[in-house]
Symmetry: C2
Subunit: 508 residues, 2 copies
Amino acid sequence: MANSPKPTLSLLISLLSLLSLFPPTLSSAPKHAPRFLGKFSRSNNKGPLGAPRYKYETRYFDQTLDHFSFSDLPTFRQRYLINTEYWAGPDRRGPIFFYCGNEGDIEWFAANTGFVWELAPRFQAMIIFPEHRYYGESMPYGSFEEAYKNATTLAHLTAEQALADFAVLITELKRNLSAHACPVVLFGGSYGGMLAAWMRLKYPHIAIGALASSAPVLQFEDIVPPETFYDIVSHDFRRESISCFNTIKDSWDVIESEGQKNNGLSYLTETFRFCRKLESADDLSNWLSSAYSYLAMGNYPYPADFLMPMPGNPIKEVCRKIDNCPDGMSILQRIFEGVSVYYNYTGTVDCFNLDDDPHGMNGWNWQACTEMVMPTSSSKNISMFPAYDYNYTSDEEWCLENYHVKPRPTWITTQFGGHGFKNALKSFGSNIIFSNGLLDPWSGGSVLEDISETIVALVTENGAHHLDLRPSTAEDPDWLVEQRAAEVKLIQGWLHQYFEKKKTVFDM
Amino acid sequence: MANSPKPTLSLLISLLSLLSLFPPTLSSAPKHAPRFLGKFSRSNNKGPLGAPRYKYETRYFDQTLDHFSFSDLPTFRQRYLINTEYWAGPDRRGPIFFYCGNEGDIEWFAANTGFVWELAPRFQAMIIFPEHRYYGESMPYGSFEEAYKNATTLAHLTAEQALADFAVLITELKRNLSAHACPVVLFGGSYGGMLAAWMRLKYPHIAIGALASSAPVLQFEDIVPPETFYDIVSHDFRRESISCFNTIKDSWDVIESEGQKNNGLSYLTETFRFCRKLESADDLSNWLSSAYSYLAMGNYPYPADFLMPMPGNPIKEVCRKIDNCPDGMSILQRIFEGVSVYYNYTGTVDCFNLDDDPHGMNGWNWQACTEMVMPTSSSKNISMFPAYDYNYTSDEEWCLENYHVKPRPTWITTQFGGHGFKNALKSFGSNIIFSNGLLDPWSGGSVLEDISETIVALVTENGAHHLDLRPSTAEDPDWLVEQRAAEVKLIQGWLHQYFEKKKTVFDM
């Protein structure tokens, strides 16, 4: 497989940016990166009749840009969504449900995190969805253009600063509402789940517990094997059909050798119906790789319109298409049929576009080039993807060249714990749920076994990327209903314990 | 007592800077501040024959200036002292004793923290004394002058950055020495004790326990009454002699009315033997107030040369002088006799100087004007000092005027815990010793009762400011010997527990 397309950093970065399935906007990323994800960012907070499904007030908080230094920097307006409709109020110590906003427009996360909205009335909780700095409307320096101008303006886009934003925001809100005795419960999915777990660890005085859904907190340095991600995607296909898995595995060489032929790129462009001619076979390979990874993340048991409109169990559907092609159909045509389940489920797309995102620098790319350095490889044997060994040095070069910033690959583990993370959790942490679906490729970098009595792993064999945070549907399988019920019971337990303590013990 | 001199911010700041009994250098502070403490900064690492008492190698680590942002700032050289003479080495998992350097030259702390040096051979431990950024030789931007140039260059002088320095330094050292399985125990006194406790909380994966001696972690916002500090100083005098206490309490009005007379300042200058004429009576009051506070902190049971050469039980000595003056001696002369025990115990000083410190901006003043906002008042009834109500607004004005920086008085409590700190400690922390002597005015802002089985308070009735960290002496009273023995036993327990876990459980 010499010279075959590899999952390059650009692809890895765009996959990392899928942590919460949020679209990267990559014009400054190398050309291999998929560019078509911007469409995901639309808010889909719509109920059956077009009215907003969830109601909230949009507010803004004057936030410190650099919490850990006293530079003379301008503050910025952090957006947050708030709903106090169900809240029991300060006197009755109504809980505060706080979603740790991640890398994207907070309205989009609010719309896709139905679990929190459904839970709030039951717990008479206030709901807060704060936006992560440098995303959505929460832009330092007044605008996206100014905030994303260069490495200096982007400097303060870090997880630690975002956690401090949350801590300051909660503290100030509670002060203003005389709600200091109201317990805060954190929620988060994907990168937001990492933030929720880290926040519970670093700010235990601020929140009493955290539901960290699909949070790959161990996907750093060599804590988990870097092959984990692609091995799981591959497994998701293999479990549906070995012939489907093999067709995909065999396709990369075919694509590459086709790309080297005269008129090969034209042939590939035509076969895969791109609107404009492919510039390299790699572009196609990356386009396919990213679809497979998204399919694995969004491999939900019912049709969903989270990433793209997709059928239920979409990988089964992709493999059915690939396997059921008439005999004699070429491997590339089979692949096209399969991937159309992802890119064209509605059947309305005439041609595909690799370059439909006009934006400049992308927030998650910056984060991946600074502290969120999550090594990913593709194994030669288990994976259906082209083999690729993680190479930090080339990633660093890419970041220096594209973002003029040098990553600090050991910083997150120094800050939040690396190999000793679980031990630290065990002796220090409490009240954290790590929920994961094993179909989710990020699950391999998360916590999959109970750490202690109060730090528990809820693992579903057939779940995908933070499925539990989505609104409940009539099609929810029993195991999903049970998973959510288990989460509710644990959260209830935290609150119960908190109120019991308040009853018997004076605030020390 | 209208118009009587009040413990102004300048005085409070200079007292705060005594947290570790380290001299402030205050030319940019207002003129009321005492200026004579620079002499404390000499390193006294001398054994009986003039040879260094403690042996170490001095090394430098290339440290990140801003851990929490990716600004393009220069790194700086962090100094650290290291001794591996007794260390059992990585294979035998020799412990690492890590002193959290505080606001001063690290050699001075190393010389005055004999406890760690005496403990190391017994535990076959490595000793590391890292210097706090912006102190001693660990200057960003290459020099003291550049680092202390203005608010922009001082911006990164914060406790969080210092903790991150420690975390990165430990992690890198362990990596270089293949010592990742070696347990780290933290030590710290005063502000350094606060750092040790906070570090154990924020970086539980990095250190297994912390001895936080005389660490006023609760001296923020309104967690403890702001009068605590001066009330304890006052109590220290009152317990020795009520007449002494009353003489001091009465002296402020006398000083003030004297200062308002014609030639009054000349008279005061002469009576107190200042080398240059006093500019105001306030200067004298602050000079006296700070002596009383230092005496309370350094109220050790044996003669010591830590702050100034002082006799054992120096407050008893001061009061003996004040009380035993011949009848008819004026109140001011009595005060002078008393305070001479502090300022002139060796009897070699011809005249006293309020302005003997040529330095510019002072590190602790900056910290007190940014995040280390520790309210202090003087009560009308209990205190022997002039009554003074803490006034944040005037402090803020002072900081804006003098340092061009606005304090964030609620940041430390947001970051490390405020009213809920003890509860957070209880449910999250473990393996912290809060040791305090009740004669120490900072003890009122520390943790004085056991929080849990593993977060314990060791309180001595007759101890002063982190006496337990000092080298043992032949004159140590039994209670001090017992306190240190209790500390050793607890540290032993942490290590034992760590090694037991390592034996039975794989590193998760």
